[in-house]
């Protein structure tokens, strides 16, 4: 088992390297680079050369890659072309805001989806299942930004009970109730966005679990339906949910791009969208490499967790 985990970790490293190479190539392919951002056309050639030398742009391309990689490994992502701010500092300021929004929303969604999914799956084709499934079908079809707009219109404009922009009212820093008021709308939008898929997932694994032999055995032994569902079926359903949660790791950075943009939440979303609109390559690539690395690490984590908690895999080894 330790061998399997080690093997997975060793497999993940080349993936990360390949992604870093793709990113670097994309930066090189971009129509202008960091030098163009730092220099002006009026500068004499020597000054430009000096700046190039200072940032290592006079070195051969593979050396530039290693310098860039070294920078990233030490947490240095370079500078934005547009604002000239350090990207690392910007990200450090913004990622916590995104986590504060996405993490509670995701946890709430998982809890709700397990309850609703098990209920729907156990009562397949009955009224309660049809209602839950109908909710999922509609939920999947609703664009999150549209739902956000409708909420803003109703609660922000019509009744004017919830603030529509940002994380705090300006000047009221540190007030928890103020934060909570700002938090309600984006969080509900995210929950509605996360729920349908998760519920479907739990529902369909519940349905397939219920036809398994162990359920029949339990029924034959006279266990109640509720007991079977929450004692036995839920365990088998939780297993894939845990792996799904591992894979959700990158969502802590990129999971709420659209919602954050609509609500002006000071997270990674608006930062990235602005960078995209302004073709701010260093920022785009920093977020690209960060989120892709998180995907790989998330997959690795979910594999390891799955391996640790599922006894069947242990036996296979």
């Amino acid at each position: 088992m330790a061998k399997y985990i080690l093997k997975r970790i060793l497999q993940a490293i080349p993936l990360l390297l390949i992604i870093s190479i793709i990113c670097f190539t994309l930066i090189q392919l971009a129509p202008y680079n960091a030098i163009d951002a730092m220099t002006t056309p009026k500068m004499p050639q020597e000054t430009v050369e000096l700046i190039k030398a200072k940032y290592g742009f006079d070195k051969p391309i593979y050396m530039q890659y290693f310098l860039w990689l070294k920078g990233i490994l030490s947490g240095h992502f370079g500078y934005s072309i547009v604002t000239h701010e350090s990207i690392s500092n910007d990200l450090i300021a913004r990622i916590p805001a995104t986590i504060v929004l996405v993490l509670p929303a995701y946890i709430i969604s998982i809890v709700i989806s397990i309850i609703l999914g098990l209920t729907a799956g156990a009562n397949k084709n009955k009224m309660v299942d049809k209602i839950i499934d109908g909710f999922c079908s509609i939920g999947i079809a609703i664009p999150s930004f549209w739902f956000a707009m409708i909420m803003i219109f109703i609660f922000g404009y019509k009744f004017a009970i919830l603030p529509i922009l940002g994380m705090n009212t300006i000047g009221v820093d540190g007030s928890f109730t103020d934060f909570l008021l700002h938090f309600i709308m984006p969080c509900s939008v995210l929950i509605i966005a996360f729920l349908p898929e998760l519920i479907r997932y739990v529902r369909s694994s519940t349905i397939s679990q219920i036809t398994e032999g162990y359920v029949m055995v339990q029924t034959a032994f006279g266990s109640s339906k509720r007991e079977i569902l929450f004692k036995h079926v839920s365990k088998n359903v939780l297993l894939p949910i845990i792996t799904k949660a591992g894979m959700a790791l990158p969502m802590l950075v990129t999971g709420a791009m659209i919602t954050e943009t609509v609500f002006g939440w000071p997270g990674v979303g608006p930062y990235f969208i602005n960078a995209v609109r302004g073709l701010d390559y260093p920022v785009i690539m920093a977020i690209l490499i960060l989120s892709s690395s998180l995907v790989i690490i998330g997959n690795l984590l979910s594999d390891i967790i799955y391996c640790l908690i599922d006894p069947r895999i242990k036996e296979m080894e």
Binding site: I22, I150, Y157, V276, L279, N299
Partner: protein
């Protein structure tokens, strides 16, 4: 056999009002989009004397901030959204089937390499891919179709691969292998037909998600550009005018929801055709 399957689908449609309505809605929306050119109003014609008009008999769904007829723009927008959805689905499903069956059937090193490739591609957020690709392509309809098609096949590939893995252990496939059938024949005659239910479900949901992706991108201003309209960029417009003209958010939003809902519903019903055993029950 075949006619019984078709009968099953018809039966399923008869008994399932939701599916019937979904099908009717999709036909309706496709027809309207196809014959949009018959509408005597130019969707791009601006009229500064009637800006942000609420719905009236002259403009059934009002006008936007440049005085353009909103209903006409929405119909033309639907055309764009549907084209993006269907073409992107064709691209992504083809790639997905190819990669999935090859990876699942041959296994071993090839499988490992292909699946790691899938990991890499799916680990790059689509929004970033779109911007990078748009450096090389002129932004607009073609770019967005290619981008969505090229970067949304991974889920289909994974599903098809998983299905292939179990199908290739079935007796009839093992038998075909043992009598020396070529791999190509086995894939086309046995694997792909057996994976068909998965493909149908994956492709209807990928039309739906392509429409969703297109509208999200256009909503963020990264997709279809003005003056061309799509449901997404109509909603982007609607957001700017939310306080003064909330009705602008209603029509494109409802159309997106209904279209995506209908495609998903239709996918569920079509499963009856490919999986006769679930006929009668809810998929």
């Amino acid at each position: 056999m075949r006619s019984r399957r078709i009968k099953n689908v018809i039966e399923e449609f008869k008994g399932n009002k939701g599916a019937l309505l979904s099908g009717a809605f999709l036909i309706f929306i496709i027809l309207i989009s196809a014959f949009a050119f018959l509408i005597p109003i130019n969707p791009d014609a601006t009229n500064t004397s009637s800006m942000l008009q609420p719905p009236s008999s002259a403009h059934l769904f009002g006008t936007d901030e440049l005085g353009r007829d909103y209903l006409t723009r929405t119909i033309y927008g639907g055309r764009v959204s549907l084209i993006v959805g269907i073409l992107a689905m064709v691209i992504s499903t083809s790639i997905g089937i190819g990669v999935g069956t090859i990876s699942g059937y041959f296994g071993g090193k090839l499988d490992n390499i292909l699946m790691r490739f899938v990991d890499i591609v799916s680990s790059i957020p689509w929004m970033i891919l779109v911007t990078v690709v748009s450096i090389f392509l002129k932004p607009g309809l073609q770019a967005i179709i290619i981008v969505i098609g090229l970067f949304s096949w991974m889920e289909t590939a994974r599903l098809v691969r998983a299905e292939t893995l179990s199908i290739k252990e079935r007796e009839y496939v093992l038998y075909a292998v043992s009598i020396g059938e070529s791999s190509k024949n086995i894939i086309f005659k046995h694997i792909i037909p057996s994976v068909f239910p998965t493909i149908i479900i994956a492709s209807t949901s990928s039309i739906a998600s392509a429409i969703m992706t297109e509208s999200s991108l256009s909503f963020l201003g990264l997709g279809i550009q003005q003056p061309m309209s799509s449901w997404g960029n109509l909603l982007q417009n609607a957001q700017t005018n939310l306080q003064s003209a909330p009705y602008m958010a209603i029509l494109p939003g409802l159309l997106i929801i209904l279209t995506i809902y209908s495609f998903n519903k239709l996918g569920n019903v079509l499963r009856v055709f490919v999986e006769p055993k679930i006929a009668g029950g809810e998929g």
